[in-house]
C-alpha cells in the first residue's frame, strides 16, 4: 500500500492507505482530519494542506478559485480535490479539532447502494428531502445520510455508543436500566449521540439537517429497547427471549426536535424479530439478499452478541450466540475496538516476526478482532500456541513490537477469542443440525460486522472461526446492518424482502438446545471447524 506522511502541528505520522478516495475522505477515517464544510465539493476552501513530496496532479478549477497563486506556488492544495495514488507527504495547515465522529474505516460500509430503485414515497413538504439510516450497535453507532430521491450518499459517521461506560456488554446495561433514572439517562445518551453525529455530518458535509425527513433505525433488541426506554427489563427474563418485544418509540416529536431535523420527520425503529434477534440481523439479510441467492447460505453478523442465520432454500433459522466482547472491545491486555490505532492485520515475515497494519494512525494502541485472528492463527501455525489455546512453552503472554510500542497478547486474549468463536461455532453447528444440513454443503457464507471487512478468510478458517468451505463461497460484507437500513430508507422492494424474512424466520434459542454444550466445547479448540 502507498504511504501518506503527515505533518500535523509539530508531529510526523505515517499511514498506509488504499488509493481511490480524496485526501479529505482518507483523513476523515483517521485521527488527523482537515476542516471541511462542503461535502468535498471544493466550495468552502477550508481543507488546505501543503504538498511537501510526491505527485497528485494539477490543481482543479476549485483550487484555482480558492487558493492564491503565491500559495499555490508554495504547494498549497485542497485535500478534497486531490486523489493520491502513490507515496506523498503533506502538512495539514489547519487541522480540525478531534471529533468523536469519524468516517467509518474504509470498506466497512458498502460503497455501492444495495438498491437501484429509490421508490419509497417521500415525506411531503420538504424540498429534496434527506434520509438517515442508523445502525445502533452495542459498541458503535454507524450513520448514513442519503438523498431520498436519488439515493446519493452525503456522508457516513461512525462513533462509540456512549452507553459503553455503563458496561461493555448488554446485560450489564440492562441491569443498570432497572433503575428508572439510569434508564432515562441511557436512553438520553444514545439519543444525544445520534444528535451530535447529525450535527457533525451536516456541518462537515454542508447540508441542512432540517431537510432530514425520514430516519430508519436498526439494532439489536436490547439497544432498541434502551433507546425507546420500553420493555428492556423483560429482556432479563430468558422466558421472554424468543417472543417479539415492542420497542417502538412512543413519541418521536421530542427526538426530531433534539436532533434539529424536520419536525414532520418519520422515525422508524425497525422492530426486532425477538428478544435475542434484533432488526440489525434482519437488515443484514436484506442487504445480502440472503433469501434470493444461492442456498444453503449461512449469514454471521460478528459482534458482542453474534447473530447467525441459516437459509436452506425453503426455511430460515436464526439464532444469537453470546460470544463476549472479543471482536469489538477486547477483554484482555491488548484488545481494543476497530478504531484508529488498532492493529487490524498481522502478517509474519520470513523470520516469523509479526508485521502489523494499523487503522488510521501509525501508533498502535492494541489489537482489534481481525488483528487478533491473524496473530492467533499465525502463532498456531508456528506452534507457539497449542490447539487448546495455551502457549506451548508455558509463557503467559506473547510480546511483539509495533513501531514505538510493545503489545502483549495475553492468554486471556486468546481465551476470549476461543469463547467467542466457540459460541458462534456451536450456534452454526446447532442450526445445521436443526436444518439437517452438513457444513460442507454450504454454497454461500456471508461474514458481516465491524471486523468482517478486514478478516483474513484463510486465518479465520484455520482457527475455526469460519466454516472451511471454498474461499470463493465466503463473502466479507462489512456493516451489512447499515447497508440494509439504507435500503429500507429508500426502497419498497427492500421493505418487501424484510417482511418476507420476518415471516419466514424461526428463532432457535441455543440455551435450550441439548447439543449446545458439547458443540461449544468442540468449537473452543483453535482448529478448523471440520475437525470439531
Amino acid at each position: 500500500m502507498p504511504r501518506l506522511t503527515l505533518f500535523v502541528r509539530s508531529e510526523r505520522h505515517v499511514i498506509d492507505y488504499e488509493p481511490g478516495q480524496s485526501l479529505r475522505d482518507l483523513l476523515d477515517a483517521t485521527d488527523f482530519r482537515v476542516r471541511s464544510a462542503c461535502h468535498g465539493l471544493g466550495a468552502c476552501g477550508l481543507c488546505r494542506v501543503r504538498l511537501l513530496d510526491g505527485t497528485v496532479g494539477a490543481p482543479t478549477a476549485a483550487e484555482l478559485l480558492q487558493i492564491e497563486a503565491t500559495d499555490r506556488a508554495a504547494g498549497v492544495r485542497l485535500a478534497c480535490q486531490i486523489h493520491p495514488t502513490g507515496d506523498i507527504a503533506v502538512a495539514l495547515l489547519d487541522p480540525a479539532p478531534p471529533s468523536e465522529w469519524r468516517t467509518p474505516p474504509p470498506g466497512l460500509v458498502a460503497a455501492t447502494l444495495p438498491v437501484t430503485n429509490c421508490d419509497r414515497s417521500r415525506p411531503p413538504g420538504i424540498v429534496n428531502p434527506l434520509g438517515l439510516a442508523v445502525d445502533l450497535g452495542t459498541s458503535h453507532l454507524t450513520l448514513a445520510f442519503h438523498e431520498l430521491a436519488s439515493g446519493r450518499r452525503l456522508g457516513l459517521r461512525f462513533g462509540r455508543n456512549p452507553q459503553g461506560h455503563h458496561g461493555a456488554d448488554v446485560v450489564t446495561r440492562l441491569v443498570a436500566a432497572g433503575e428508572p433514572a439510569t434508564a432515562r439517562q441511557l436512553a438520553g445518551e444514545v439519543r444525544m449521540a445520534i444528535g451530535t453525529a447529525i450535527a457533525d455530518a451536516a456541518q462537515r458535509e454542508g447540508f441542512d439537517a432540517s431537510r432530514i425527513g425520514r430516519v430508519v433505525i436498526v439494532g439489536n433488541t436490547a439497544m432498541l429497547a434502551l433507546l425507546a426506554n420500553r420493555n428492556h427489563q423483560r429482556l432479563l427474563q430468558p422466558s421472554m427471549w424468543s417472543a417479539p418485544l415492542d420497542c417502538a418509540p412512543t413519541d418521536t416529536a421530542e427526538w426530531t426536535s433534539d436532533w434539529s431535523i424536520a419536525p414532520v420527520a418519520e422515525v422508524e425503529v425497525i422492530p426486532p424479530l425477538s428478544g435475542f434477534v434484533g432488526s440489525d440481523l434482519l437488515a443484514g439479510l436484506v442487504a445480502s439478499d440472503l433469501l434470493a441467492g444461492p442456498a444453503p447460505a449461512l449469514f454471521i453478523d460478528f459482534g458482542t452478541n453474534s447473530e447467525i442465520a441459516l437459509w436452506t432454500g425453503t426455511a430460515l433459522w436464526v439464532t444469537a450466540a453470546a460470544g463476549g466482547p472479543a471482536f469489538e472491545t477486547g477483554p484482555g491486555r491488548c484488545g481494543m475496538p476497530a478504531e484508529t490505532g488498532a492493529v487490524y492485520r498481522v502478517v509474519f515475515d520470513a523470520a516469523e516476526q509479526p508485521i502489523a497494519r494499523i487503522l488510521g494512525n501509525d501508533e498502535a494502541r492494541g489489537l482489534c478482532g481481525s488483528g487478533l485472528v491473524d496473530l492467533v492463527a499465525g502463532l498456531r501455525r508456528q506452534g507457539v500456541l497449542t490447539p487448546v489455546g495455551r502457549f506451548a512453552d508455558g509463557r503467559s503472554a506473547y510480546e511483539f513490537v509495533v513501531g514505538k510500542h510493545t503489545l502483549a497478547l495475553d492468554w486471556r486474549d486468546v481465551d476470549a477469542l476461543q469463547r467467542a468463536k466457540g459460541a458462534i461455532g456451536a450456534g452454526i453447528s446447532v442450526l445445521c443440525t436443526q436444518a439437517g444440513l452438513a457444513l460442507r454443503t454450504l454454497r454461500r457464507v456471508v461474514a458481516a460486522g465491524l471486523f468482517g471487512r478486514y478478516l483474513d478468510v484463510e486465518n479465520a478458517r484455520q482457527i475455526g472461526l469460519l466454516p472451511d468451505v471454498p474461499a470463493e463461497h465466503i463473502e466479507l460484507a462489512g456493516n451489512s446492518a447499515l447497508t440494509g437500513a439504507v435500503a429500507l430508507l429508500l426502497s419498497e422492494s427492500a421493505r418487501a424482502m424484510l417482511a418476507r424474512a420476518r415471516a419466514t424466520a424461526s428463532c432457535v434459542n441455543l440455551a435450550k438446545m441439548a447439543n449446545f454444550d458439547t458443540a461449544f466445547l468442540e468449537h473452543l479448540y483453535l482448529r478448523p471447524m471440520s475437525s470439531s
Binding site: 432479563l236 430468558p238 487448546v388 489455546g389 486471556r412 476461543q418 466457540g422 440455551a511 466445547l521 473452543l524
Partner: protein
C-alpha cells in the same frame, strides 16, 4: 503414591499418577484407559475416587491459584472427570451409597452455567453425588429435587444480578417442604459480592474450590459415611 488402604493388593503396577495426569491434562480417553487398567488390577471404584479423582481435584485447586486455566482446559478436565465417574458408577451413585448428595442449579433468569459446571466437576471428583438441574431452573424445581434426592445441600449459581431475588426464595421454598436441614450455598459473579445474610443462604463461595471445601468440611464434621 499415597496409602491405598488394606483392600488393595500390594502391587507396584497400582500407580494412580498416570490417571491423575490424564485428568489434569483433560485427556478423557487416556483417563478412561487408566481407569480400566486400575479396575483390571482389582482397584475398587471407591479407591479410584479417593486416590485418583480427589487428588487430581486438589492439584487443580493448587494450579488454579498459581496459574489460570483457560475455559477449554477447565471444560476438558470436567469432561474427563465426568467420563471416569460414569465409568465407575454407570447407574449413577445411589443416595445411600454416595458420600453425600448435592443438588446444583443455575436459577431461573440466568443461562450462564459454566461456573456451575466447574463446581459440579470438583464435587464429582471428590466423590460426592451431584444432581445437576442445569440452567434457567425454577426455585420450586430445585426445592422439589432437594427432597426427592435426599440432598444434604443445594448449590445455586448466578452470573447476573437479576438472579438475586430468586436466590432469596430458595430457603423459604425448602422450608415449605420441611427441608430445614438442607444447607444452601451460593456462588457466581453476581452473588459473591453479597453476604450470606443478604441472600438468606448458609455460605457464599468465592470460587468452585472454596465452595467444595466448605461442603467437604460440612459433611466431614457431621461424620457422613462414605
Amino acid at each position: 503414591m499415597s496409602n491405598v488402604g488394606h483392600a488393595l493388593p500390594d502391587s507396584p503396577a497400582i500407580d494412580f499418577a498416570p490417571l491423575i495426569a490424564a485428568l489434569l491434562a483433560g485427556d478423557h480417553a487416556a483417563a478412561l484407559k487408566e481407569t480400566h487398567r486400575l479396575r483390571a488390577l482389582g482397584v475398587s471404584p471407591e479407591a479410584i475416587v479417593t486416590e485418583g479423582l480427589e487428588v487430581a481435584m486438589d492439584r487443580l485447586d493448587e494450579k488454579c491459584t498459581i496459574e489460570q486455566f483457560n475455559l477449554l482446559e477447565i471444560m476438558l478436565v470436567g469432561r474427563a472427570v465426568a467420563v471416569v465417574v460414569h465409568e465407575l458408577f454407570p447407574e449413577g451413585l445411589q443416595p445411600e451409597k454416595g458420600r453425600a448428595t448435592f443438588v446444583i442449579a443455575t436459577l431461573e433468569g440466568d443461562v450462564h452455567d459454566l461456573g456451575k459446571n466447574i463446581v459440579r466437576t470438583v464435587l464429582l471428583g471428590k466423590g460426592f453425588r451431584v444432581v445437576d438441574l442445569g440452567r434457567d431452573c425454577p426455585v420450586e424445581t430445585l426445592a422439589e429435587a432437594a427432597g426427592r434426592e435426599q440432598a444434604r445441600a443445594v448449590l445455586v449459581s448466578g452470573l447476573i444480578s437479576t438472579v438475586v431475588p430468586q436466590v432469596r426464595r430458595v430457603r423459604p421454598a425448602l422450608r415449605r417442604r420441611g427441608l430445614d436441614r438442607v444447607t444452601v450455598v451460593a456462588g457466581g459473579a453476581a452473588l459473591k459480592q453479597l453476604s450470606p445474610a443478604d441472600l438468606d443462604v448458609d455460605y457464599v463461595a468465592e470460587t468452585a474450590f472454596d465452595g467444595a471445601r466448605y461442603l467437604e468440611n460440612l459433611v466431614t464434621t457431621e461424620g457422613t459415611v462414605r
